[in-house]
Amino acid sequence: MTIAAVADELDTAWREHRPFLASEDGLCAYDDRVPDLTVEAEDAYRAALGRLARRARDLDETALTFADAVTRDVVLDAAQRELTLLESGGLEHTVAPVMTEGPTALLTVASRTVLRRPQDASAYLARCRAMPAYLRAHVARLQEGARHDRRPVAALVQAATRQVDEALASGGNKLASVPPPPGWVGAEAWQQQVARASDAAARALGDWRAAVAALAVRADDACGLCHLPGGEGDYAALARAHTTLDVTPAEVHALGRAQVEALHDAVVELGGVLGHAGLEATM
């Protein structure tokens, strides 16, 4: 197997794990899917990542071109980053109105969907119908996290439930607001089906809200990963994964302090030249 084939297999596994992002990239083969948030799906993805990383590592380095060696770097980095994200267990302790699975992802789908052909409409209907199961799986993972003392942060739970309340109060989840393909003869029947799927998703959103409101939460003063069991190690791994460098949180913290000091001085100096005294005035 070539490194290019391993890279393609990893790309496919990644997209199957994150079909919303695949759709955003314009890959219509994923438009009828939602992420499978179950433990079983995650275990299968973890196994695939491990298998692909092993294949990449086992390739004979002396037989690789420079371009192949670059691709191997990319494969190993991507596999390790995904494994790190899975190991940190964010799905089981994160509720937030941004950048997370669950209602935020659902509420974003409609605004990012444009239907051009009848098959696009069929795929979208299938996706809408899958939303209740998607939200139920999300709740199950959060409840599993809570059983292991990995609880979401109070302020974010409050913000996320407020987001759901506002969506429900303003007519639901917008799933039914997506127009059918122009001039399509099946549009009317399709719109009725999407409306029913949208109602079911709205009920599931209500259920999600009730289940999340019942979860025990973590105090805002303990919002960092270091307050969770194993969180210190998880964060050190995430810092490496997101920077792609072998750095510690303490080293990144020190780099930030140094950059802040230098940039603060530059801001105040230029602000002073422009007649603005102090940092506040520059804003």
Binding site: A7, D77, V114, C223, L245, L263
Partner: protein, 248 residues
């Protein structure tokens, strides 16, 4: 949005001095969907889609965010050209590379490049007024502050209120925006480190290449070395630059 369009047009005109052909066409700027804007989503870029939809820079016209006012031009250079739009459009055109490199997104590389692009625009004198340049500096300060706050929260145990207070003391931000930022760092631990760390590494590699090559250093070739293998981790960018230097 008008100011951002003008800034992007200036950057498009300057692209040929930064990178060799092919130069991607400019991306458009649109107001983001109302419910996203109302929720306070930050301005952002979505790359060209495989179905032919163009790359777009989405602007929040309802809730003022970073990018409104003096920081607007820096944001345009970050999200559009020479930032995300240039990097991602160019990567997508590299048809011999695996999809993982053409369409993947390595945060430290992609966000590092976009923050580097803000600096590049400054070096080329593309900010229209000293105030806009000041806005760009404040945005750089903001990204540096993220390194302190993200690690402060997750490694040093800072509480939410302390993190908000420190961020607002360091970068004078509206209270609601600072709160939303802390929420983001809590929800996605470590993600916010990618911007300033990535830029720092690209600037370090460029300085190193300038030192090693002296008068033979060519910015266009350096940028081609950085960009033309698609999305890669930062240590690999170092290998690519080393390979380019060896071939010079």
């Amino acid at each position: 949005m008008t100011a951002c369009r003008a800034a992007i047009a200036r950057a498009q005109d300057a692209l040929a001095q930064w990178i060799p052909a092919p130069i991607p066409l400019a991306c458009d700027i649109l107001a983001m969907p109302a419910h996203l804007a109302a929720a306070g989503h930050a301005p952002h870029y979505t790359p060209p889609r495989l179905d032919g939809s163009p790359g777009l820079f989405w602007f929040n016209t309802q809730v003022p965010q970073t990018g409104a006012g003096w920081a607007g031009e820096a944001l345009a250079f970050h999200e559009a050209s020479p930032g995300h739009h240039l990097q991602l459009s160019r990567a997508q055109a590299l048809s011999t590379l695996p999809a993982l490199q053409r369409h993947g997104f390595v945060n430290a590389y992609g966000e590092g490049w976009a923050l580097y692009a803000e600096r590049l625009a400054d070096e080329a004198g593309l900010y229209s007024t000293p105030e806009r340049r000041l806005g760009a500096l404040v945005l750089q300060l903001f990204r540096a502050a993220r390194l302190v706050v993200d690690t402060g929260i997750h490694a040093e145990g800072w509480g939410w209120a302390h993190a908000v207070a420190w961020l607002r003391r360091t970068v004078p931000l509206p209270a609601a925006f600072a709160e939303a930022e802390i929420g983001r760092y809590v929800a996605a631990p470590g993600q916010a480190l990618s911007y300033a760390v990535g830029q720092h590494e690209l600037l370090r590699l460029r300085a190193d290449a300038q030192r090693r090559l002296g008068p033979r250093f060519r910015p266009r070739e350096f940028h081609a070395a950085v960009l033309d293998s698609g999305s890669v981790p930062l240590p690999t960018v170092g290998r690519l630059v080393d390979e380019w230097i060896a071939a010079c």
